[in-house]
């Protein structure tokens, strides 16, 4: 999943073939089969932090970065992974078009050392387009573990292409690669490229070429590569359990539950520490302002409005996310996500959706806008639309903490070890409900507005790779921290100021905020919440992170007795404002199911190019949220009142 702050920025949406450069700069394209470690090579060379993960289709738009080597500068273009230049899935088109029309000075084809035979097909195809080609056989460390031996010199002589053996994640061979890039990009391209073949629809010819390519690849493999069958079967044995009919799904649910449990348990202490520090600082700041004689109104906006909501977002949102994402990334790097897609495919098929929707759903956990962009890995327009519209039904980074915090506040009260387990179960259930709604909406859409049968599906299960635990935890932690902090600064602080103003400007006897809440209250009550909660959700349109802070500020401005001093007093504040278990459950449900945030909607507009579908992506989840909350509220009242 594209879980980096970088991949969410709007600039990453650009696909550009003509790269601007000056005379001392060279453009180098990185191509290769999906999942061969192109992004790792890219990151190593450029020092950037393009998200990496062990599943095909992770890079859907080309990323760019630069590095300097000796006298020259090189602009690297990380192209989406592709099996062949003949096929035409959306992301593969980017690669094909760039290699046919882009102004590159060299192409590095990154190949997986553990699967050379399949990777060579693309090498042959690219070598017909350009002679400025370097073959980078990556993951050589994995190959060594599997006792695969590669005769580099032999292969080089045979292919007449410079070859470098690398292990990008620990830097092995990277200097040699830089050296080759320097030499190759200064060469002249001799061969006239036969590009038309890659666009013309001559099926027979292409079949023949593929057959010849693969036969040649097989021949080369027999000649220059030695494999160890025993080691080769390691992954098969693991998969016999992980993807088995019996244990596949239970193992998956168990792992998900464990991740949530660790997140909840681990977030407690840092949340407490952060809020102690940040709110302690608030008092100091307050004193300083008073000392300087700043007037109360300005002090209110700056401290009670802006600073406090910023502090809330950081102390409530950051710890769970900084724990959840590194954990998730570990599983991603291990190669577990495609196995999840494998285990769930029969459900997606039944729902009329694409099997890869499972992967775009996982991207949605990080950020729905990124998830929507990720839907480019789905080729069929019908299924892509379904995936785009339903992506919002998995909780993103902005909503997850709300669910985590509320379930921890309301359903962990026994004071025993069970306190960590119940919220974890609860969150797992919420996620399952999100998946269930995704499938239901997909099913209904594919029976009505988006009729059709599921399109074809081929899924590669990549080899398991030992994740670099330390590095992943570090980069993922930093990445999340930057993500949450920047959102807090950009959205939470201004929103805090606005809400504070609304809560402190009075019209007649009530504040504007109170008037608004009173107006929305009947609607809120009907679905088991209240007017303030609805305001908080509306205020959360630019970013869901601020829903809880806005709500707390709204409640506290009402003159509630409790002051918010720690995460633990959250429950008291909410209960003193008339909350019941129903309010908590419905708020979580509403958060899970309601409209997408503004960034996501803009992205949907951009990706679908249609106002109609953007509107549908707004109305469908919102309708479901109201319906579901209304039903739970009615049932609750029927039973308990």
């Amino acid at each position: 999943m594209g879980l980096t702050a970088q991949s969410v920025r709007m600039e990453s949406l650009r696909d550009i073939y003509e790269i601007e450069k000056n005379e001392t700069q060279y453009v180098v394209a990185l191509a290769g089969n999906p999942n061969t470690g192109k992004s790792t090579v890219f990151n190593y060379l450029t020092g950037l932090n393009q998200h990496t993960g062990n599943w095909p289709g992770k890079t859907v738009v080309s990323a760019r970065g630069q590095f300097k080597y000796k006298k020259n500068e090189y602009i690297m273009v990380d192209l989406p992974g592709s099996y062949s230049l003949f096929t035409a899935s959306k992301d593969e088109e980017v690669t094909r078009d760039f290699l046919c029309y882009g102004n590159f000075d060299a192409v590095v084809v990154v190949a997986d050392a553990t699967c050379i035979e399949r990777n060579l097909n693309l090498v042959f195809q690219v070598s017909e387009l350009t002679s400025k080609l370097i073959l980078c056989i990556n993951l050589i460390d994995e190959a060594k573990k599997k006792n695969i031996e590669i005769d580099k010199e032999g292969l080089e002589k045979e292919l007449k292409i410079p070859i470098v053996l690398t292990s990008a994640r620990n830097g092995y061979g990277m200097n040699e690669l830089k050296n080759l890039i320097e030499k190759t990009s200064q060469k002249d391209d001799k061969e006239a490229a036969e590009k038309s073949l890659y666009f013309k629809q001559d099926e027979k010819l292409r079949e023949k070429i593929s057959e010849d390519n693969y036969n040649y690849a097989n021949e080369l493999k027999q000649k220059y590569i030695k494999e160890d069958i025993k080691k080769l079967n390691r992954d098969k044995r693991i998969d016999d359990i992980i993807t088995s009919k019996k244990f596949g799904i239970p193992i998956m649910l168990f792992l998900l539950g464990i991740i949530f449990w660790i997140t909840i348990q681990g977030a407690n202490l840092p949340s407490q520490v952060l809020s102690d520090i940040l709110f302690g600082f608030q008092y100091k700041l307050n004193d300083i302002f008073i000392g300087f004689g700043v007037n109360d109104f300005l002090r209110g906006i700056l401290i009670d409005g802006m600073y406090r909501s910023l502090a809330w977002v950081v102390s409530v949102m950051l710890p769970p996310m900084a724990i959840f994402f590194p954990l998730f990334t570990l599983f991603e790097d291990l190669g577990y996500l495609p196995r999840v897609a494998f285990n769930l495919d029969h459900m997606f098929k039944k729902a009329g959706a694409h099997g890869k929707m499972c992967l775009t759903m996982c991207m949605g956990f990080g950020c729905n806008a990124a998830g929507v962009i990720g839907c480019r890995i789905i080729d069929s327009p019908r299924e892509r639309l379904i995936a785009i519209i339903t992506n919002n039904l998995v909780p993103c980074n902005g909503r997850f903490p709300l669910i985590i915090v509320l379930s921890a506040a309301f359903f962990a009260f026994t004071g025993t070890f069970i306190d960590g387990i119940i919220p974890a179960l609860f969150i797992t259930l919420m996620v399952l409900l999100g998946v269930f709604s995704t499938l239901t909406v997909s099913y209904l859409l594919s029976k009505t507005l988006l009729k059709g049968i599921p399109s074809t599906f081929t899924l590669e299960l990549p080899p398991y790779r030992a994740p670099q635990v330390g590095r992943i935890i570090y980069t993922s932690l930093i990445d999340r921290t930057i993500f949450v902090l920047s959102r807090a600064a950009v959205v939470a602080a201004p929103a805090g100021a606005i809400i504070w103003l609304l809560a402190n400007i009075y019209v007649k006897d009530f504040s504007i905020l109170n008037h608004m809440a009173n107006f929305l209250d009947p609607l809120g009550r009907a679905i088991g919440m209240d007017g303030f909660i609805l305001i908080a959700f509306i205020a959360g349109f630019p970013a869901n992170e601020i829903v809880i802070p806005v709500l707390l500020m709204a409640y506290m401005s009402k003159g509630a007795l409790t002051d918010f001093e720690s995460i633990n007093s959250l429950r008291q504040i909410l209960i003193s404002n008339g909350w019941t278990a129903l309010t908590a459950i419905n708020m979580m449900l509403f958060s899970l199911l309601h409209w997408p945030c503004s960034t996501t909607l803009l992205t949907i507009k951009k990706e679908t190019g249609s106002l109609k579908w953007t509107l549908a992506a707004f109305i469908i989840p919102t309708g479901i949220a109201f319906l579901v909350c209304f039903v739970t509220a009615s049932v609750y009242r029927l039973i308990w009142q």
Partner: protein, 72 residues
């Protein structure tokens, strides 16, 4: 015989790729060309997907797809 009917554990050779359009290209890209060895590794939940070893990679196909591959 068709690839979809081959039992788990067997290795067969591709005789013909009878898929059309996009799927055909995808098969070719994955190396399901004439003469390729395919090992049937495992069936997934509900017998929906089957994992094959194709050109050294593990690829899962639905029955709706694997029925287009003629094997020997």
């Amino acid at each position: 015989m068709k690839l979809v009917d081959v039992g788990v554990g067997r290795t067969v050779k591709v005789e013909q790729n009878s898929a059309h359009d996009y799927l055909k290209e995808r098969f070719l890209a994955l190396g399901l060309t004439k003469g390729a060895d395919v090992e049937v590794l495992r069936k997934g939940p509900k017998n929906n997907l089957t994992v094959y070893r194709i050109r050294g990679a593990m690829i899962a196909l639905r029955n709706e797809e694997s029925k287009f591959i003629e094997v020997l």
